[in-house]
Amino acid sequence: MITLNVNGRSRDVDDAPNTPLLYVLRDTLELNGAKFGCGLGQCGACTVVVDGKPVFSCLTPIAILQGRKITTLEGLGTEDAPSPLQRAFIEEQAAQCGYCIPGMIMRAHALLTGNAAPTDAEIREHMNANLCRCGTHMRILQAIKRAARGMQAADARAPAQEVRP
C-alpha cells in the first residue's frame, strides 16, 4: 500500500509501486483531469503539479511520490466554483476538443504560482512542453494572461482588505 497526498487528501492505493501516477489517478482514484497522451513525456496531456512543479504523470511511478503534494485539475476548482485559471479558460473559450486543456491548466498553474506576472515570452517558453492539436494556442495564451491579471488585481486588493477593522 502506498499513501499519496492528492489534492490535500491522503489516499491509500494498492497499485504496484512502478505504476505511473497517471493510471492511479485515472483508474484507481477515478480522477478524469490528467489525460493519457503519449506515455513518453512529449505532449504534456498528463501534466499534474507535484510540490509546486509541473510533472508528467505518465512517467512518474507512484513509488517516488509518498509524502509529496500532488495537485490535479480537480484540486483547483469545480464546475460550480472554478479556480481563477479555470474561469479564465472558460471566459476565453479556450478549448476546442479540450483534451489537452487539463494539462495546459496544470502547467500554467505551476507557472503562475511561482511568477504572478509572467511576460508573453515567459508564458510561451513555459508552455512549450505541452502540445495542442486543435490550434487553440492563442486562446490558451490569452487565458493564462487573463488569469495572471486577475490574480494580480486580487493581490492588489488584498492588503486593503486586511487593514479594514
Binding site: 483547483l76 469545480t78 476546442q96 517558453e125
Partner: protein, 742 residues
C-alpha cells in the same frame, strides 16, 4: 519568375500506366440545375434522411425538450450551436434544450460528421423541425383556446394568447402530434427577429472539460469494466507466426490473451497491467515482415508511376484575349497525419446476445454496420453510441479502436472492455492524409489577366472509412480476414482529392483534371479538408506567381478575377483589417495573402499574414495573422472564430513542419519526436478573425475553411520574404534554407 517547366511527361506517365476509366463528372452547375428542376422542393438539410419531426425534436408531457442530432461533437462546438438553433425556433432558453448526439438507438442516421457539413445538414434540419413543431403547437393551442393561430405566439416554452392566456408546451403534446412528416417549407423566424442565433453563447461543454468532468469516452467507467491493449503487427502486412503466451498469462491482473490470426490483444483487471502484458507480448510475438514500402526519397516519382483513373473535373472554354505569357508549376504535399493528442479509445460490452460500443468515431451508423459485419451479427444486435474523444480532424484510429474493443468484449462477455491505443500505435497505424502532386499552367494576356488555366491533381482516395468491415485494421488481421473495399475517388461537387481543384475565380478557359490513383502504398483516409488543403495551397500559390508575373498586387490581382460578391467582401475585409500593402518590408520579412471558398460551396475564408524568415537557419516565424470568414448566417460567431483560429494554427503546423517518415518496411514517425508538430514557441504573434455575417443566408460549414488559405498565405509570405518560391510542403527550415541558398 523561375517556375519549373511544366512537365508534359504526365501524358507519358499515363500512357505507361493502366488508365482504368475516363469520365466527365457532374459539375457543380449541372448539379444545381438538377436540384432546381425537381418538381417538389426537397426537405431542408438532413430532414431528407429522416423526415419525421420527432426524429429531431421531442417534447415530453412535463415540458422537457429534447433535440436529436445524428452528428457528433468532435470539438467543433456543434453541441452548443445546435442547442441555439433549436431554442431559437422553439422560443426557449438554449439550456432548456437537452441534446442527444449520434446514437444508433436514438438519433437519425446522418452518416459521418465530416466535410464541415454539420451546420448545413443537421442545424438546418433541427431549425426547420423546431419551427414546424412550434407552429404545430400553436395550432393545437388555437383549437383548444378557440383563438385564431395568428393571434398566438410561442414564448418561453408556452403558447401565449392576446389575453395572456398560456398553455405550456408539455400540455400541448398529447397524442403524438409531433410524430408527423416534415414539410418542405418552414415558417422560420426572420433574420431581424433572431435572439439566440448570432450570439456568441459560451460552449456548454467547456466548464466540465476544464474542471475534470467526464467528458470523453476515455473517461467512461462502467461497473466491472476491464482494460485491454492490442499488439499490432511490426509492419502493415506482417503476419503473426507465433507467440509464446505462457508466462504472460501469469502476469499480474492478466485475464485473457486473445489471438485470432494476426490480431493479438490482452485484457487485464487494471490499465497499467494491460500495458505491461502488451509490452511482454510485443517481445514474444514473432512476425514475418512482408511489407515493402516505396522509397520515401522518391515517393512522388513512385506515385506518378502508379496507374491512375483520369477524371475531368472542369472543362470550359470562351473567347478571350491571346495569352502572351505562360507560367507552369508543380506542387507537392507529403503524407501528413491527424496526430490526435489522445490516442484512440473505445469501450465495448457484450452480454452474450447484443453488443454496445462507445466510440469517438465520426459515424455511428457506418461503424455499427462494419462491426456487425465483422462479428457476423445482425445490425440490430449492435448499438454504437458516440462519446467525445480528443480532436480527430478526420478518420484517425477511432473506428479501428472501436473494432478492437468489439472483438475483445466478445471474448469476455459480461465485462465492459476499454481499449486505448498507445501513442506509437496511433502514429504508425492511423490512415494518413495522402501525399499529393499537382501541376498548374496558366497564361496571362497583355493586360495581366488570366486567359487560360489548366490544373491536374494526382491523389489516392481520401476516404477508407467504414461501413465495410475490411476498413478496420483488426478485421484485416483475423484468421478469416476481411478485405478492404475498393478505393473510391469521391464525388463532385464536394470532391475528395479534387476538392477545391477548380478555382472560384472567373476565368474564360479552365481545364481541371483529377488523376485518381487507386493503389495505396501507405494507409490513407480523410484528413481535415481532404484534397482542399493541397489544392488551395497550389492554386493560391500559383495565383501569387501569376500576380508577380503580371506586376500586380496579389490582393488586387485576386479581386480582378473574382466576381462573387461575398468572396470579394471576405477578401477585402481580410486585406483591410490586416492593413494590406505591397510596400516592401525589412529584409527577411514578408506578407502573404490567400483566399478560398471551401469546396466552392461552404464558408468563404481569406487569410493575410506576415512572416520572418531567419536567414541562417531557414526557420519561418509567424507574425500577425488576420482572417475574414463568411459562414452564412452566423449562429455562434465566437465558435466560428475559434474554428478558424484553430484551422490556421493547425495548418501552420502541417505547412511548416509535417511529413510522415518511413523506410521500406515500416513507418518511422512513431511519436512526437519523430513527427514534430507546432509548439508554443512557434505559434503566431496573433491570430485575429473577423466574422462577416450573412443574415438570412444558409448555414455554411466552417471547420475546414481555413487550412488551405493559411497554407498558401504562409507560402506566399515566405516568397515575399525571400524572393524564392517553394512549392513542396512542408516549408521546413531545412527546405527553406536550401532554397535560399545559405
Amino acid at each position: 519568375m523561375n517556375a519549373p517547366v511544366f512537365t508534359p511527361s504526365r501524358r507519358n506517365v499515363l500512357a505507361g500506366a493502366l488508365i482504368l476509366s475516363f469520365s466527365l463528372r457532374a459539375l457543380p452547375s449541372l448539379a444545381q440545375d438538377q436540384d432546381n428542376a425537381a418538381s417538389k422542393p426537397p426537405l431542408p438539410g438532413s430532414l431528407k434522411r429522416a423526415p419525421m419531426l420527432d426524429a429531431w425534436i421531442r417534447i415530453d408531457a412535463d415540458g422537457v425538450i429534447t433535440a436529436f442530432t445524428g452528428k457528433c461533437e468532435i470539438g467543433q462546438g456543434i453541441r452548443t450551436a445546435l442547442m441555439q438553433v433549436a431554442a431559437e425556433e422553439l422560443e426557449v432558453d438554449p439550456h432548456a434544450v437537452h441534446l442527444i448526439t449520434a446514437d444508433t438507438a436514438r438519433t437519425a442516421n446522418e452518416g459521418f460528421t465530416s466535410g464541415s457539413n454539420s451546420m448545413k445538414d443537421s442545424a438546418t434540419a433541427i431549425r426547420n423541425a423546431a419551427a414546424q413543431v412550434r407552429e404545430i403547437l400553436i395550432g393545437v393551442a388555437a383549437e383548444r383556446l378557440g383563438i385564431a393561430a395568428d393571434q398566438l405566439h410561442a414564448q418561453s416554452g408556452a403558447v401565449v394568447g392576446p389575453d395572456n392566456r398560456r398553455i405550456a408546451y408539455g400540455d400541448l403534446v398529447a397524442g403524438d402530434v409531433l410524430h408527423v412528416t416534415a414539410q418542405p417549407v418552414s415558417k422560420l423566424k426572420s433574420p431581424d427577429a433572431l435572439k439566440m442565433i448570432g450570439q456568441s453563447m459560451p460552449r456548454v461543454d467547456i466548464p466540465g472539460k476544464v474542471t475534470g468532468g467526464i467528458a470523453y469516452v476515455h473517461d467512461l467507467r462502467l461497473p466491472g469494466m476491464v482494460h485491454a491493449r492490442v499488439v499490432r503487427p511490426s509492419s502493415y502486412d506482417a503476419r503473426l507466426l507465433s507467440v509464446d503466451t505462457s508466462g504472460i498469462e501469469k502476469m499480474p491482473g492478466v485475464m485473457k490473451i486473445v489471438r485470432d490470426g494476426s490480431f493479438l490483444g490482452v485484457i487485464a483487471e487494471r490499465e497499467f497491467q494491460a500495458i505491461a502484458a502488451m509490452h511482454a507480448l510485443t517481445v514474444a510475438a514473432k512476425w514475418d515482415v512482408a511489407t515493402k514500402l516505396p522509397d520515401e526519397g522518391n515517393i512522388f516519382g513512385f506515385i506518378e508511376s502508379l496507374p491512375a483513373e483520369e477524371h475531368v473535373i472542369a472543362d470550359k472554354h470562351a473567347d478571350s484575349a491571346p495569352g502572351t505569357r505562360t507560367l507552369e508549376a508543380v506542387y507537392h504535399r507529403p503524407y501528413q497525419m491527424h496526430g490526435s493528442i489522445g490516442p484512440s479509445c473505445a469501450v465495448a460490452s457484450f452480454d452474450g446476445d447484443a453488443l454496445t460500443v462507445w466510440s469517438h468515431a465520426q459515424g455511428m451508423f457506418p461503424l455499427r454496420k462494419g462491426i456487425a459485419e465483422m462479428l457476423h451479427l445482425p445490425d440490430e444486435k449492435v448499438r454504437c453510441i458516440h462519446m467525445e474523444g480528443a480532436g480527430c480532424y478526420g478518420h484517425n484510429g477511432a473506428d479501428d479502436a472501436a473494432a478492437d474493443a468489439a472483438l475483445l468484449a466478445c471474448a469476455l462477455p459480461g465485462r465492459p472492455v476499454r481499449v486505448q491505443w498507445m501513442r506509437e500505435q496511433e502514429h504508425q497505424w492511423e490512415p494518413y492524409g495522402p501525399a499529393m502532386v499537382s501541376r498548374a499552367r496558366a497564361s496571362l494576356d497583355i493586360a495581366g489577366n488570366i486567359v487560360d488555366w489548366e490544373y491536374e491533381v494526382r491523389s489516392n482516395t481520401h476516404s477508407t472509412r467504414p461501413p465495410g468491415a475490411g476498413q478496420f485494421l483488426a478485421a484485416r488481421h483475423l484468421e478469416q480476414p476481411f478485405k478492404p473495399g475498393p478505393p473510391r475517388p469521391g464525388e463532385q461537387p464536394d470532391g475528395a482529392g479534387d476538392r477545391n481543384s477548380v478555382p472560384l475565380y472567373a476565368l474564360p478557359n479552365v481545364r481541371v483534371g483529377y488523376q485518381f490513383v487507386p493503389d495505396m502504398p501507405l494507409r490513407v483516409s480523410a484528413l481535415r479538408g481532404l484534397g482542399a488543403y493541397h489544392n488551395i495551397f497550389a492554386i493560391e500559390s500559383f495565383m501569387d506567381e501569376l500576380a508577380i508575373a503580371a506586376g500586380a498586387d496579389p490582393v488586387e490581382f485576386r479581386l480582378r478575377h473574382m466576381q462573387e460578391k461575398r468572396a470579394r467582401k471576405v477578401i477585402e475585409t481580410a486585406a483591410q483589417r490586416f492593413g494590406w500593402s505591397s510596400a516592401s518590408m525589412t529584409e527577411g520579412s514578408g506578407r502573404g495573402f490567400a483566399f478560398a471558398r471551401y469546396k466552392n460551396l461552404g464558408a468563404y475564408c481569406a487569410v493575410a499574414l506576415e512572416v520572418d524568415v531567419e536567414h541562417e537557419s531557414g526557420r519561418v516565424r509567424l507574425g500577425r495573422v488576420v482572417a475574414a470568414v463568411d459562414s452564412g448566417q452566423a449562429v455562434n460567431p465566437n465558435g466560428i472564430a475559434n474554428q478558424i483560429q484553430g484551422g490556421i494554427v493547425q495548418s501552420a503546423s502541417w505547412t511548416l513542419y509535417e511529413s510522415v517518415r518511413f523506410n521500406q518496411t515500416r513507418i518511422l514517425s512513431q511519436d512526437w519526436s519523430t513527427y514534430p508538430i507546432l509548439r508554443f514557441g512557434n505559434v503566431p504573434e496573433s491570430v485575429d478573425v473577423h466574422v462577416v455575417d450573412a443574415p438570412g443566408e444558409p448555414f455554411l460549414g466552417t471547420g475546414e475553411a481555413a487550412q488551405g488559405p493559411a497554407a498558401a498565405a504562409i507560402a506566399n509570405a515566405v516568397t515575399n520574404a525571400t524572393g524564392t518560391r517553394i512549392r513542396h510542403l512542408p516549408l521546413s527550415a531545412a527546405r527553406v534554407k536550401a532554397a535560399i541558398g545559405v
